[in-house]
């Protein structure tokens, strides 16, 4: 599909779905059940606010979402206590699917949500958003509720490329601009109109989620895009402009770790999709440097981007969902 055409036909602004009553009417007509998943690790400052706003505006006032779940990686602050106090279903990630050895990582929580939650559509929202608003959820659900062919809706937080008063560059953060977009341009050019491929907010149909593998670390968002694109092409995607998102800025060194994990997931897919063949990685150790006076010191960080298999391959899931 021509990237310009895709951009025009599949890019929305959240205001297009601000009539939530209509959205709920359509949801009911189609019989969808919708779950909201918030993966957490020490998010006591923002989690209470997210739950209050989503529960009050999108569950109590209008029944757009049917469950709000926090899947926690073992917070040591009051994240779980606050989330529970304000009415979310709170799960400790390690206690979901107890028969499978637990791993640490945001991707692990997202993957386990597929097992734990009931929705036909799952909306994933990061817990560290300071300017949370109902649009973060209804803006992502709109394309999925109104268009049956759309499977995966990604958030972005800036205006589309063209403006009436001129044209300005737009896009994602540093990792997106110096890593992901060049890689997409080289190997998956059709994916380049996805403005913020790494944003942590997206909504997906279960039928798609249960069939894709999940890196448990930094590569989860990138691998979703590559795997769904490989299977279904660009028509499966849409993206919604959610205006501004205020969140913590990450130090450059952490972005290095993120890029290292993403690259592992990316190269694995290049090979799986028969685009480029690689031998095994030489190492999964990221080397960064720090200076003490005039001495430089190597910091070695082992980052192994492990992956969970598609949930549909897990016997417990098949049993729970009645899949033979």
């Amino acid at each position: 599909m021509n990237p310009d055409k895709w951009l025009k036909e599949n890019t929305y602004h959240h205001s297009a779905f601000a009539n939530i009553a209509d959205l709920v009417k359509e949801k009911k007509k189609k019989g969808y059940k919708i779950s909201l998943c918030i993966p957490t690790l020490n998010e006591e400052k923002t989690i209470g606010k997210e739950i209050i706003i989503f529960k009050s505006e999108l569950m109590n006032r209008v029944p757009l979402i049917d469950e709000i779940a926090v899947i926690d990686s073992g917070s040591t602050d009051k994240t779980r206590e606050i989330a529970s106090e304000y009415g979310a279903d709170v799960y400790l990630s390690s206690e979901i699917l107890p028969g499978i050895e637990s791993k640490k990582g945001k991707g692990e929580n997202l993957w386990k949500a597929i097992y734990q939650l009931e929705g036909d559509i799952i909306v994933y929202i990061d817990a560290d958003i300071k300017n949370i608003h109902p649009r973060f959820v209804y803006g992502l659900l709109g394309p999925l509720i109104y268009r049956d062919e759309v499977m995966y809706v990604k958030a972005f937080y800036d205006r589309p490329l063209a403006f009436s008063d001129g044209i300005r560059p737009t896009g994602g953060g540093r990792v997106t601009e110096i890593l992901i977009r060049p890689l997409f341009s080289l190997f998956y050019p059709e994916l380049t109109p996805i403005i913020q491929p790494l944003s942590g907010e997206y909504a997906v149909r279960r039928e798609v989620l249960e069939k894709i593998p999940f890196p448990i670390g930094y590569g989860v968002e990138t691998s979703h895009l590559l795997d769904i694109y490989h299977e279904q092409g660009m028509q499966a995607f849409a993206q919604t402009d959610l205006d501004q998102r205020v969140h913590r800025n990450q130090p450059t060194r952490d972005l290095g770790k993120m890029a290292f994990g993403i690259l592992q997931a990316f190269f694995k897919r290049l090979a799986a999709h028969d685009i480029v063949k690689f031998k095994e990685f030489e190492s999964q150790i990221l080397r960064q440097f720090q200076a003490h006076d005039n001495n430089f010191e190597v910091i070695e960080i082992h980052i192994r981007e492990e992956e969970r298999p598609p949930m549909i391959d897990i016997p417990e899931y098949r049993k729970k969902r009645g899949i033979k």
Partner: protein, 390 residues
């Protein structure tokens, strides 16, 4: 308020606690969303828009804004024709540049201006739901108002405009303050808000340069003001609120502004202090050949309803019945605008909080239910009682 009347009101509120539990999340989510919309005085439009949406969702009638940008809606009564005005100020003293993010913790909400006065606005937004869910029908129309241009130079402009121009005769006003629960204000202090402005004149004698500048001059004026004897009766105070001047370590500042407020139970005392300070300013100005001027940017007359007025006695009676320890305090808030218009009014608080007017202002969630219950009780009492309007 008789025992029977109090008992009847409390009977109407029997189901309050379970109903409040149903709408608590609505209150908190509105509180968070209101708090996160910046609304410095004169720039309240976005917050007004939010309130109007909430009023429309609550099926209020005449949901509208006026020339001063006030947010207004009416919860209609059975048609007896009387109107109760419930008001909370929309504007804050927090600038756009401040991070307005709010944090919700276990039992608290923290952020700039959450208590002063997003809580009051959130209370107004949930009131229609509370009345509906409790099955309470009022005889009076309940006019819900988020008032603009209230603080600082706004000087209660929004409420004054509405009271002057409304075609709905107001039986009584209830002003809501976020903090603090149990405080009842039925009297307003006289208040005068002033600025003293220093400017280096065009024909300034530069031989004086380095010896006299804005900071020295304003400091001298402050010292002279502090020498004025302030009586304890009538209760009177002068508060220095802000001073701005200077840019560097070594440059003598050529401009400066001092903001202060005179408060007193006596209008004459406010006026007398104003004249004394004007004399100080004139003397300092002429002594050094510099330009110092004093402007009055806001003024409120003292006054109010008596302690024994049915509105005050209802508030005390309801708080007694709810085991809320009350205290009676004078105020300089919205009450003044009602007093100036000759309308009986009272100010009550909705919850408790700390760090008022700081960016980490914090309110407690638990007392909100008692604050809203007091408010409902007071509305029922005003609705049912006849006031002597002579």
């Amino acid at each position: 308020m008789t025992k029977e009347e109090k008992a009847a009101i409390l009977a109407d509120l029997t189901d309050f606690d379970p109903v409040f539990r149903e709408i608590k999340e609505l209150f908190l989510s509105n509180l968070v969303m209101i708090s996160e919309i910046p609304a410095p005085t004169f720039e309240e439009q976005e917050r007004v828009g939010f309130l109007l949406n909430k009023f429309s969702e609550a099926n209020l009638i005449n949901t509208s804004t006026d020339e001063y940008g006030n947010a207004l809606g009416i919860h209609p009564g059975t048609g007896e024709g009387k109107n109760i005005l419930l008001v909370s100020n929309i504007d804050t003293s927090v600038d756009f540049t401040v991070d307005h993010s709010v944090s919700v913790g276990p039992g608290t909400v923290t952020g700039p201006a959450v208590g002063n006065n997003a809580v009051g606005l959130a209370a107004i937004t949930v009131l229609p739901s509370l009345l509906d869910k409790l099955g309470i029908t009022l005889k009076s129309n309940l006019i819900l108002m988020g008032s603009t241009r209230s603080l600082g130079k706004g000087s209660l402009g929004g409420l004054r405009f509405f009271l002057k121009n409304t075609r709905h005769p107001i039986k009584a006003g209830i002003c809501l303050e976020g903090m603090k629960l149990g405080e009842i204000s039925h009297r307003s202090l006289g208040m005068m808000r002033c600025e003293i402005i220093y400017n280096t004149p065009d024909n300034f004698d530069w031989k004086m340069f380095g010896r006299i500048g804005a900071i020295e001059t304003l400091s001298e004026i402050i010292s002279r003001i502090r020498e004025i004897p302030i009586p304890s009766k009538p209760r009177t105070s002068i508060s220095f609120g802000s001073i701005e001047s200077g840019t560097e370590y070594s440059f003598v500042s050529s401009e400066g502004i001092l903001r202060f407020e005179i408060r007193s139970e006596s209008e004459e005392m406010v006026s007398m202090l104003k004249h004394e300070i004007q004399n100080i300013v004139a003397e300092v100005s002429s002594s050094y050949g510099i330009e110092v001027s004093m402007n009055v940017v806001g003024q409120r007359k003292p006054g109010g309803i008596p302690f024994t007025h049915p509105l005050t006695s209802s508030a005390r009676g309801i708080m007694d019945a709810l085991d809320i320890k009350y205290s009676v305090q004078p105020t300089t808030s919205e009450l003044s605008a009602f007093i100036d218009s000759g309308i009986p009014a009272i100010t009550i608080g909705i919850t408790n909080g700390t760090r008022k007017d700081k960016n980490t202002e914090e309110i407690e969630i638990e007392p909100v239910s008692r604050g809203l219950k007091t408010l409902l009780g007071l509305i029922l009492s005003v609705d049912r009682e006849e006031y002597d309007e002579s």
